[in-house]
């Protein structure tokens, strides 16, 4: 840890670079504060430095080092970046979401108030002509009330859930259902308006039955919604193979009949649980090898002909052919050249393996030893001996230093150091201590790469997926369709295959028919 002091010659401002920590465990933020000369601006907390009054101290320019911890009022560069990203995440002001929300609310109100309106309007408009409501009619009131309640609960259960994703195109089934409901309610209103309001029908029981039929039909439309939106895709029809482009991790999932965008959403939800986190540091070795291959050969044209820059049409076949032969010559030369890179790769891999195992052994020993330093204190002991009691976080902080170095070295060797920050490690340690886990359980999350959700938000990249597909994304999955889900540095290629139609036949074997003889010599007829 070094602390630098950079002094600006100006009197008003002193720019001090405080506590530049260059430990490899983490890059602490570079905290930049301006300490102004006038004391109006309150200086950062806990300034243990000496000189803020240069006029009084002659040695001020040479020796002053002010070391301040992270104060609550200072902002670092990382904080600023994080705030802007949070702003982007939370204030998702895309009009489409609010448009669909308002549309849904309006339609919901329309649907619920319609039966009530049907029942109430005759009383308001022609109360004296209206027949009194008999027993059967009043019974129907109860039926309407309860059916509306059930409809309300059902709609709340199915539709009023916070959206879990933003898809590129409109959800076709929902749109169709909305249109259906609107048409339906409109046609009922039309009929009501023409045949009941205009003629001022006095058969109130008929009107109540009409309202009941409306609510029944709405319940049936809700049933249709459940079947179309939820039930239809439960039966698995397609097996999709999801492969990550950078390291070839492959998983297979069974999906039902979904549109491509919904299938992509399902695939992504599985991706976050199943695939190990994308680690770009692991790919650098193969990239450097590829670069070395390319750098090896150059093509020189001895005859002095210049290949045409563009091969246009059939006239430039010669140039195209020459480029073709050039690439073929390159490939042939590369094949013939005595390439020893496979040798290097082999020995490098063996060496790396050895190093990882050695560091792992040291790490395991260090962690086990660290865990022996603390033990859970029982209630009775607390009353007996007044020792220094710590809560889990403090206990974690107490034993962390003894294993920090070994852990850091291991993470560096397996190129995972950017996935785990010191706070996250200490948090995890406190969590393991609280839940009585063994050192092995604590270490497991560092020994192998876990799913993406296990790591911090910065690894999720949940807002940056693009769906690339030949077919329209609202069309359904079909056998052999391929689409891509592109994220920032990698993409997931998804191929679909239809699950075959399985024909099963039955065979009955009598349990008493299992009989055996010794095989003395087999005889085969030819």
């Amino acid at each position: 840890m070094e602390s630098l002091t950079v002094m600006d010659a100006e009197e008003e401002e002193v720019l001090q670079v405080l506590e530049v920590c260059q430990t490899i465990e983490e890059f602490r933020e570079v905290i930049v504060t301006t300490i102004e000369e006038d004391s109006n601006n309150s200086p950062p907390v806990a300034s243990s430095g000496t000189g803020t009054k240069p006029s009084q101290d002659d040695n001020w320019g040479e020796t002053t080092t002010a070391v301040t911890g992270t104060s609550e009022h200072s902002l670092s560069q990382e904080d600023i970046v994080r705030i802007t990203k949070d702003l982007e995440d939370s204030v998702g002001l895309d009009c489409r979401r609010y448009f669909t929300l308002t549309l849904a609310v309006v339609m919901g109100l329309l649907v619920f108030l319609t039966p009530v309106a049907f029942l109430v309007l005759p009383h308001l408009l022609w109360p004296e002509k209206l027949q009194s409501c008999g027993t059967a009619c009043e019974g129907l009131f109860i039926s309407v009330a309860f059916k509306l309640l059930i409809l309300l609960l059902a709609v709340w259960a199915l539709f009023f859930r916070s959206p879990r994703a933003g898809l590129p195109r409109v959800f076709v089934f929902r749109a169709l259902l909305a249109v259906l409901v609107l048409l339906f309610v409109m046609s009922y209103w039309l009929f009501y308006g023409v045949r009941i309001l205009d003629t001022q029908d006095d058969n109130y029981q008929g009107i109540v039955q009409y309202a009941v039929s409306l609510v029944d039909a709405l319940l049936f439309i809700h049933y249709l919604a459940i079947v179309l939106l939820e039930l239809r895709q439960l039966q698995p029809r397609f097996s999709v193979c999801v492969m990550r482009s950078t390291d070839g991790e492959k998983r297979h999932y069974n999906l039902g009949q979904l549109s491509i965008q919904r299938a992509a959403l399902a695939v992504l939800e599985h991706y976050y649980c199943d695939f190990p986190v994308h680690n770009p540091a692991l790919l650098s070795a193969s990239k450097s090898r590829a670069a070395k291959h390319l750098a090896g050969l150059k093509v020189y044209n001895v005859d002095g002909e210049f290949p045409a820059a563009l091969a246009e049409g059939p006239g430039n076949n010669a140039a195209a052919g020459m480029a073709h032969s050039q690439s073929r010559a390159m490939i042939a030369a590369a094949a013939r050249r005595r390439d020893t890179s496979h040798n290097e790769l082999y020995y490098e891999d063996a060496e790396h393996e050895r190093r990882v195992r050695k560091r792992k052994a040291r790490l395991v020993v260090a962690v086990e030893e660290a865990f022996t330093h603390i033990k859970r204190m029982q209630e009775e002991e607390q009353k007996k001996t007044p020792v220094d009691v710590m809560d889990p976080r403090e206990a974690a902080q107490a034993i962390f230093p003894s294993m920090a170095r070994a852990l850091q070295k291991y993470l560096r060797t397996t190129k995972q150091q950017h996935c785990h920050s010191m706070e996250s490690i200490q948090q995890h340690l406190a969590f393991c201590i609280t839940n009585n886990m063994t050192p092995k359980a604590f270490l497991e999350s560092y020994l192998s790469a876990g799913p993406t959700l296990q790591y911090s938000r910065s690894h999720w990249l949940a807002r940056q997926w693009t769906l690339i597909s030949d077919a329209s994304v609202t069309s359904g999955l079909s056998d052999g369709c391929v689409f891509q889900l592109k994220c920032v540095d990698f993409s997931l290629v998804v191929t679909t295959k239809k699950i075959p139609y399985i024909q099963m036949s039955e065979e009955y074997i009598d349990p008493k028919s299992h009989k055996f003889v010794l095989r003395l010599q087999s005889e085969t007829s030819v």
Partner: protein, 129 residues
């Protein structure tokens, strides 16, 4: 059959037999059954002299089949099939060699005890070892 010592070259008097396969439905059949093989129990073989002999023997001949017509006898030990040696074969490998679908004719070299006798008698005092 001459006693064989494992690892030493085997000398035997053999007869050449050519069998034309008969087509029966989808199969080409030869009309006999084989037994024996290096994966079988040689002590159960009724036709071998030396009960450690793991060679391929003819155990049954279908009457009227191509094998009978070609003069194959029960108890013959098959030494070669179409040039391939059969003395060190598993049972299944031997079956496969005999039932190759693209071959219409199998040329066998078989040996039997009576052959040795016949040679001995015809040669008079000259003994073939």
């Amino acid at each position: 059959m001459s006693n064989f010592i494992p690892g030493q070259p085997l000398v035997a008097v053999v007869q050449r037999i050519e069998i034309k396969k008969l087509r029966q439905g989808d199969n080409l059949i030869l009309g006999f059954s084989i037994g024996g093989g290096i994966d079988q129990d040689p002590g159960q073989n009724p036709f071998s002299d030396d009960k450690a002999d793991k060679g391929i023997y003819v155990t049954r001949i279908t009457p009227g089949g191509p094998a009978e017509t070609a003069d194959l006898k029960m108890g013959d030990k098959i030494m070669q099939v179409n040039g391939y040696d059969m003395t060190m074969m598993t049972h299944d490998q031997a079956r496969k060699r005999l039932t190759k679908k693209n071959e219409d004719v199998v040329r066998l070299l078989v040996t039997r005890k009576s052959l040795e006798e016949a040679v001995k008698n015809s040669m008079g005092g000259y003994q073939r070892q």
